[in-house]
Symmetry: C2
Subunit: 433 residues, 2 copies
């Protein structure tokens, strides 16, 4: 049995206190064996030197479309509907498996470099995304985004069957680092009859469910018009809300919907940068937290962000949460860190996001010796407001070092960039946009 | 006469196009002598290798309190009034010149590292800030923040006299890299009689004017109650608005006030991160731009940000501007880059912010070979949405290289961090907070 000791650092504990401590990892189980005073934690077979930096739980990106890194910067400054219809869907229609391999590898590399060790992902060619998760050593909560809009009945059924089949086949893959989720795309892009047919099948198969909900005002209105109820009440009637369900966005939710989320134990993946960039609106994050809703943080795809840096996202969540609440004390620094670690991990169903005995050994070491992190009044504040992904020095997932001294150990960074550049060029040429 | 050639890069031109070009700098005048095709631009005595990166104008931080880096992370998540009264003013009362030296050096180092070459600064001990500007090689538009609130008549007069004296003495210092500005703190913290006494004196002395305006809703109400008019109409009656005036924030401005700003030629330093973090509100940036108002971008002090990275700020400005306009096409990528370069430079009165013949040779080279900047669909988009301060490789101001390959050449980085840490500790101990 081999052990890894993360030494010489200060550790962010689950209660958001920071203490000088070492972390002993059992690499076979990929879990944390001990955390504590350097004199008391047993020595490991191997060492990872934190160099006085801050050891934090690996950040968890609760909602992503990772292969969309290929779309980064291609079409900005457009509202959601026009952007999807003019710039995204025509290109996605030309997507090939190799594009998703390249986009996912690029995105996962970017996440490891910025301290993210797990992500939730909804896209196509999910076998390829699973392949990259396996290769890169991160965790993924993966599901095919199933959609009926724009499809005939046969195509739609094929899509949903594929979504279920992927989820049943890949659950527990990559030595347990992959969890699978049934992911109908959204309440407006999936016909009611498909929810009625497939949600019971997903529940029977024991699959968690994830979908986009209440992202824009324009998405709420047609549901109210057609079904006579708010989106989440409609979702609840379809048995879409439960403890192993999480929704993306939750921007335009009213008080009754917030209560419904809390009652059902349904988590929300908050995507502040995407919500701002697409002018979707401000999610009432503090109100959701106050009601007892579990809220995680996600970057959404790189097309609407445009990076996958969870440090940016924590900062954005704090900033936007205050504006939404009209209260500078709302969504405070410790809160956004909890959201991006424990909150997101709970949404995805991973026992990660906490540096504590028995939890998954997923962590990142942040170099705190930087001008923008000086003086050190409060490291929790610095994490939320001043640190950035480039301050991450080492990244560990499942007890394995994925990045040491900013060098990626499981992905060839130069090749990932080159391949993504080439695939993007060919893809956009095929799509003629 | 010595020349510096910035070679091997792609240059962001004032019209937001990018072309493969070299930049020849006349170091004596500190201006750009030629920009163009590498085969046509004459060779320089010395070379700075852009390594295929993007050569951009040095970013201009239009509104800062640079020495407040000492407050970074000390008190977060509080509304403006409580934060100022409980956490900032009691500590500022204990400030010594050496604290401002340390805080300014730290902040200027942070700015150079993130590609900022000029800043506007309102604070105390401005001689010390000027000393750091001179030493570091950046540009500063500096003014003492003059305030009557909490002072008796004699103290207030002394403060304003000092503000005028500083402005008259230091204008053109540091080989012209320092411009001075008369800076009454804000419309609510300065008595009307002081505006009546000192604004004419500042105008007579030919000094530009800068003050905080319309930052919070709570600040607008008492002005309307006391003077029967909106803040900027009140300011206009006091002769506070003019072409060489710029206001900070401008969050709560109505349509008539926007027109007034446009008419008078008064610029706005937009501070999106600070406005979000203090839950002050959303400035109507697109509406101001549409009306013809010059809008720059500032970080505000590190206490309410918490970094001085203008890349963060451009991203925030785009994101928040869209939300404020309820329009994803508002405040687009090229717009925020123009704001952070040409807009801010115009507000501060520097002929910087444009890479073009005759302009100040203030520029930064951004390393574009990064995962989060791949693929290269659009470098302007990447600058606004995905690049960060840590991607800056070289920084040049006034024709002098201030950072090469991320190494600061005019400031000892380790010493700056150590000194700031020590001064902050002693300062907060004195203040007993």
């Amino acid at each position: 049995m081999s052990t890894l000791a993360v030494v010489g650092g200060r550790v962010l504990r689950p209660d958001m206190t920071v203490e000088r401590a070492d972390v002993l990892i059992d690499q076979e189980s990929g879990t944390i064996e001990a955390v504590g005073d350097p004199d008391e934690v047993p020595d490991g077979d191997e060492h990872l030197d934190a160099g006085g930096g801050l050891v934090i739980p690996g950040l968890v990106n609760a909602h992503c479309h990772v292969a969309m890194t290929l779309f980064r910067g291609n079409a900005d400054d457009k509202p959601l509907d026009a952007w999807l219809q003019e710039d995204i869907w025509p290109v996605e229609a030309e997507l090939q498996a190799g594009d998703v391999v390249a986009g996912a590898r690029l995105g996962v590399a970017e996440m490891i470099k910025s301290g993210t060790t797990a992500f939730g992902d909804m896209y196509f060619f999910m076998e390829e995304v699973a392949e990259i998760v396996a290769e890169a050593g991160v965790r993924g909560a993966l599901g095919r985004g199933c959609i009926t809009a724009g499809k005939d009945d046969e195509q739609a059924h094929a899509d949903f069957e594929e979504g279920l089949a992927f989820a049943e086949e890949y659950n527990g893959a990559a030595e347990g680092r992959i969890r699978t989720i049934f992911m109908p795309h959204s309440l407006t892009t999936v016909d009611q009859s498909f929810f009625e047919e497939y949600v019971p099948r997903a529940r029977e198969a024991g699959l968690p469910i994830h979908f986009h909900a209440n992202e824009t005002e324009q998405e709420v209105e047609p549901i109210v018009a057609e079904h006579g109820q708010r989106p989440l009440a409609y979702a609840d009637d379809l048995d879409l809300l439960a403890e192993d369900t999480f929704v993306a966005h939750g921007v335009h939710v009213d008080a009754a919907e917030i209560d419904l989320l809390a009652e059902r134990g349904t988590a929300v993946a908050h995507c502040p940068a995407s919500n701002m960039k697409l002018a979707s609106g401000m999610a009432p994050v503090q109100a959701m937290l106050d009601a007892g809703v579990t809220v995680g943080i996600g970057t959404d795809g790189a097309g609407s962000n445009n990076d996958l840096d969870m440090f940016d996202e924590m900062r954005d969540a704090a900033m936007l949460g205050k504006l939404a609440a009209d209260d500078a004390s709302a969504v405070a620094a410790p809160t956004v860190i909890e959201m991006a670690t424990q909150g997101s991990a709970a949404a995805l169903g991973f026992d990660s996001g906490r540096i504590t005995e028995g939890a998954n050994a997923d962590l990142a070491v942040v170099d705190t010796d930087a001008l923008h992190l000086t003086p050190e009044h409060d490291l929790v504040s610095h994490l939320a407001y001043a640190a950035r992904g480039s301050d991450v020095r080492h990244t560990v997932c499942d007890g394995t070092v994925l990045m040491a001294d900013r060098e990626l150990l499981t992905i060839d960074e130069e090749q990932a960039k080159r391949e993504a550049e080439e695939r993007a060029e060919a893809l956009f040429e095929r799509a003629g946009v």
